[in-house]
């Protein structure tokens, strides 16, 4: 619970920062000069490092929507910050849907969600060539219930570090 609060505070800060100025120019760090993330125990630039460093690897969506709302944008800002720090790390964006759409429509909707997140990261300076997308439609729910809370969790785009 304490961790979640911290995450929310961080997210808010990032949103403010994100709104206050243009996305930073893409500046690759000098080789060998990558700042470590002391304390998280993962190799810098690794998937574990990413997941410990960002607010979340997942953004959620409203029903039948691929619009990035405020909290989703804040999460993606934190991801963009990390991805800017490790400019050679490729990522995959997975788009997912809840079970209240038909299979094929959800494949298209999942694609739109993944792409919305990708485009946002690209606008924040992450080279689009680093970001692949894949839609899973409703094939890979993370919450298994058939209720509002589960559906809300399943409508998501997940950033996966590919290394």
């Amino acid at each position: 619970m304490a961790k979640l609060t911290t995450a929310l505070l961080l997210a808010t800060t990032l949103v403010v920062a994100g709104c206050a100025k243009k996305p930073p120019a893409y500046i690759p760090p000098a080789p060998g000069n990558v700042p470590a993330n002391p304390g998280n125990g993962f190799a810098p630039g690794s998937r574990g490092d990413f997941e410990r460093s960002v607010t979340s690897n997942t953004v959620n969506f409203a029903l039948d929507s691929f619009t990035l709302e405020e909290r989703a944008r804040a999460i993606l800002d934190s991801q963009a910050t990390w991805l800017t720090r490790y400019p050679n790390v490729p990522v995959s964006l997975e788009g997912h849907c809840d079970e209240r759409g038909t299979r094929e429509y959800n494949l298209a909707l999942g694609d739109r969600r993944a792409l919305a997140a990708k485009n946002y990261l690209a606008a924040r300076g992450v080279a689009p060539g680093r970001i692949s997308t894949i839609s899973y439609g409703k094939e890979r729910p993370i919450a298994l219930g058939s209720d509002e809370a589960s559906w809300a969790q399943n409508r998501r785009a997940v950033t996966i570090v590919l290394n």
């Binding site: 079970e99 759409g101 298209a108 694609d111 792409l115 219930g145």
Partner: protein
């Protein structure tokens, strides 16, 4: 490898020239029995209302299924064949015919009082026995092992009360195809008595499911319409979705997550090899083959915009048919190939649209409450089946012009209808909610009656009902 043989009988007006030429056995009727000489020429299925003739009313649904008896098909000589002993096969053939006719919902096969018949009785029924037993119609047949390794199955349909033969056909099959002879016999009976086209000798491609909801294993699978001859075509390492037959039944188009690249593949049934339909990096899905087998309609997502395209079944450059900025998917041809029905969210929610095959004259046809998805044009051309989303998912039909909407199922999550070859039955999948999230196959008559669970070895979804086999 199935030949229809027409009995060498002067009165067998059912003979069609093309098929008769391929008939390898000149006289498959039981040799110990004289062929019936007073049999009137069978009438075609187009005039079932001829006076006094037995007919099953299929218009008003299935209020009173027709009582029918299907005794074990005797054999003149018990022979061991690769398919089994001929006497055992005779029992199983009668069970196949019984199962098919019962599952149609239009027939009530007798459960008791079905006596075994001796071989000579096949063409000389004891009508006095079957009438009181409750049978208005009688199906008798025989099985014979031929010297060349094939099997001959004879199939006769009788009207018990008028004491007449209504139809007869013989089928010469390779042992591996023995079940098909039973389905062909059932198809003859069904067509003759209902006036509807046949559909029992057909297959279903579908997705076999197992494993937990969040990590479901989905394999491409193929089976006969009655669930027999089941085979898995993929091993489950990649998610398989939405299979559809090509009209010649040599290929199945489907979607696979092979190599984490969700795309459409063309699977060749004989060689068990597959190739990507459109080799590019875009998401391709929702494949449907055109009635002439030349084209595949499919959806492709480019830059967040999903449109309906077509491409030659053999591959080539896709041609875009829709260009709305929304999600256009689920495109399916009309049986004459001239038009396409598809779903689009261009109005804000999923709705059904029809257009010409070249993409022109796009016109919305669904206007009811809720969303509409997965349209499928009936093989007869007069109906479009769909999934309706309005709180629950239900299967329904409407006319191609958009009127006469009728919902056929009332499950919580029924999705993805597929027509039987004769356009009489719809197969779909029904999911259960909650943590299991299991899905299985069901079928329903287009009048909304005779809802049936279709048994599969594991769970099942995404049925694609193939054409009638030749």
């Amino acid at each position: 490898m199935l030949h229809k043989t027409i009995f060498a009988l002067a009165l067998a007006a059912v003979a069609t020239v093309g098929q008769a030429q391929t008939a390898p056995a000149p006289a498959p009727a039981p040799v110990q029995t004289p062929a019936p000489v007073q049999t009137p020429a069978p009438t075609g299925p187009t005039d079932p209302q001829q006076q006094g003739e037995l007919v099953v009313d299929v218009v008003g649904g299935v209020s009173a299924p027709l009582g029918i008896a299907i005794p074990v098909m005797p054999t003149a000589e018990i022979v061991n064949t690769p398919a089994g002993r001929t006497d055992v096969l005779g029992e199983q053939l009668a069970q196949i015919v019984t199962g098919d006719l019962r599952n149609s919902g239009l027939f009530k096969p007798l459960d008791s009082g079905v006596k075994p018949i001796p071989y000579p009785e096949v063409t000389a029924p004891t009508f006095d026995y079957w009438g009181p037993a409750g049978a208005a119609a009688l199906v008798q047949g025989f099985i014979r092992a031929n010297g060349d390794g094939t099997l001959t199955v004879g199939c006769y349909l009788y009207d018990v009360f008028s004491r007449r033969e209504l139809a007869r056909q013989g089928f010469v099959v390779a042992p591996a195809d023995w079940r098909r002879a039973g389905h062909k016999c059932a198809d003859m009976v069904y067509s003759k008595l209902t006036g509807e086209g046949p559909y029992f000798d057909s297959r279903v491609a579908y997705v076999s499911e197992t494993g937990p909801k969040g990590k479901r294993i989905k394999r491409l699978a193929l089976m006969d319409q009655d669930g027999e001859n089941h085979t898995f075509l993929t091993n489950g390492q990649a998610i398989a979705l939405t299979p559809r037959f090509s009209p010649d039944q040599r290929a199945i188009v489907y979607m696979s997550y092979l190599d984490d690249r969700p795309a459409i593949y063309v699977y060749d049934i004989a060689s068990k090899r597959q190739r990507m339909l459109v080799p590019n990096t875009n998401l391709t899905f929702a494949p449907r083959v055109s009635p002439d087998g030349r084209w595949v309609l499919f959806s492709m997502a480019i830059g967040g915009n999903t449109d309906v395209y077509r491409v030659a079944l053999g591959g080539g450059t896709p041609q875009r048919l829709t260009d709305s900025p929304g999600i256009d998917t689920g495109g399916t041809y009309s049986p004459d190939g001239g038009r396409i029905v598809f779903e689009s969210d261009r109005s804000g929610t999923q709705q059904l649209y029809v257009m010409n095959a070249d993409g022109s004259q796009q016109q919305r046809i669904s206007f009811g409450n809720g969303r509409y998805a997965t349209p499928v044009w009936s093989p007869r051309g007069n109906l479009i089946a769909f999934t309706k989303l309005a709180g629950s998912f239900r299967i329904g039909v409407m006319s191609p012009a958009g009127g006469n909407e009728q919902l056929l199922t009332d499950g919580a999550q029924d999705e993805g209808p597929s027509w039987s070859p004769n356009g009489r039955v719809l197969m779909f999948f029904r999911s259960t909610g909650g943590g299991s999230g299991r899905a299985d196959l069901w079928s329903v008559d287009l009048t909304g009656v005779n809802l049936r669970h279709v048994s599969t070895p594991l769970d099942g979804s995404d049925p694609g009902w193939g054409p009638l086999r030749p």
